[in-house]
Symmetry: C2
């Protein structure tokens, strides 16, 4: 469902080029519970942003669910994201003027043409699953860090997208809550075939992955088929 | 260096009162390497904000470095914070219009009357210690999550304050980098007697603490002298 062919992402800093990703080639199968690991600054967020069509590679090809994302225009990629993807951002990115409920409902309104009557059951179910049902009326400013993170997770899952990208989704969660979140994701994968690709520094979450890619300084240094010619 | 006497922090939500902290009494000795642990939403950030004079209790007394923080006015608490405290925020709170170097230098400019000539050595030393020396000219928007977190840590330490409060300071860091940060903090405590109070969900960091307080639903459920009458 995801293919990187010799992908590089470079930022120009004055006279120097910073390679956030450096000739990365990988493929992710539909339904694979996939972890991206590596030191701080190694390129995990950059990779997730490319898969999520939020950014374009400087070199190489990125293909997601059969679509080449390099040539996509802004409108086209926004529509593609709405229909196919769910994204949990490293800094959550909740809308401050919407309540917890409204933040989670948002993807259903935007692109998925879900009948209004079906919103409430879907939102309530996902809020309960991340333990935020009793906080549905609060605004993001009234939430703890881990509560915001869980609302962001709920928002990414509510539309049951084919592919969920999660950037350090348990960074601000205690062990028990983190475990519940991973269980929820695995359940969705088993029930709906959802593909999960998440970056993480948490060894307990790394253990739960079926496939793991290791990044270092923008290069892929380990993963299925890496170095196994 | 920190004393909580029957401290409560309550938020009014319509007709309901939410007790973010519920009759918490504790004391922290100068130089103690102290962890605050507990589930997401249990009150850790609330407690750190009270110690950091960023907020006032609804009930009870909070005393920091001999000063009662309840009666302090805004100007007085800002001055007290600048001289005595370093704070690593859960969401980093870097100034987007300043570079990495300038963000870390900021506390030295604001309140500490450190001669300009002494700024560069202090900032450079702390940037090197958190592995961000080569990124000194970047702006926060150009940094990874863990890089921002390390800049926030550097900023909290640069003025060598008596008390450092760190809210989940390793949440976005890989194991090796997290370990370096904890080593740096312990080194500062050994060399300067700095008191560190940090909240964390990371079991590897919890292991490093000398004193641990456990919160649940705003109540202190374990810690030195709790339940040991
Ligand atoms: N302004 C507010 N209005 C209402 N409730 C609030 C407000 N700020 C915090 N709370 C609530 O107080 C409780 C404690 O919040 P706090 O941020 O201290 O938790 P925490 O232990 O830091 O959690 P985490 O590990 O998720 O960061 C939470 O249930 C939170 O929703
Ligand atoms: N706009 C930018 N300009 C310059 N450099 C950038 C920019 N965005 C990212 N980088 C650099 O690219 C590298 C990879 O960043 P990325 O955010 O992908 O790392 P990461 O693996 O997600 O790290 P973390 O675990 O700390 O979140 C970092 O060194 C970062 O400083
Ligand atoms: Mg990142
Ligand atoms: Mg918190």
């Amino acid at each position: 469902i995801v293919l990187f062919e010799n992908v590089s992402k470079t930022y120009r800093m004055g006279e120097v080029d910073v390679a956030a990703l450096d000739h990365v080639s990988l493929s992710i199968s539909q339904g694979a519970f996939t972890a991206l690991v590596g030191p701080s600054g190694s390129g995990k967020t950059t990779a997730l942003n490319l898969i999520g069509c939020l950014d374009r590679p400087s070199q190489g090809e990125v293909t997601v669910a059969g679509r080449a994302i390099g040539p996509m225009g802004r409108r086209e990629s926004a529509e593609f994201r709405g229909k196919t993807l769910g994204f949990v951002f490293q800094d959550f990115n909740l809308l401050p003027v919407l309540t917890v409920y409204e933040n989670v409902e948002y993807p259903l309104l935007m692109i998925r043409d879900v009948p209004k009557g079906e919103h409430k059951p879907a939102v309530d179910r996902v809020l309960a699953a991340v333990g935020m049902a009793d906080q549905a009326g609060k605004y993001p400013a009234q939430l703890s860090g881990g509560q915001k993170q869980r609302v962001a997770i709920g928002r990414a899952l509510v539309g049951k997208p084919a592919l969920v990208l999660a950037d350090e989704p348990t960074a601000n969660l205690d062990g028990a809550t983190a475990h519940k979140v991973v269980e929820l994701m695995k359940q969705m994968r088993d029930e709906f075939g959802t593909t999960f690709v998440f970056s993480t520094h948490d060894p307990r979450i790394m253990d739960q992955a079926e496939v793991t890619f290791h990044l270092e300084d923008g290069r892929l240094i380990d993963g299925p088929a890496v170095g196994k010619e």
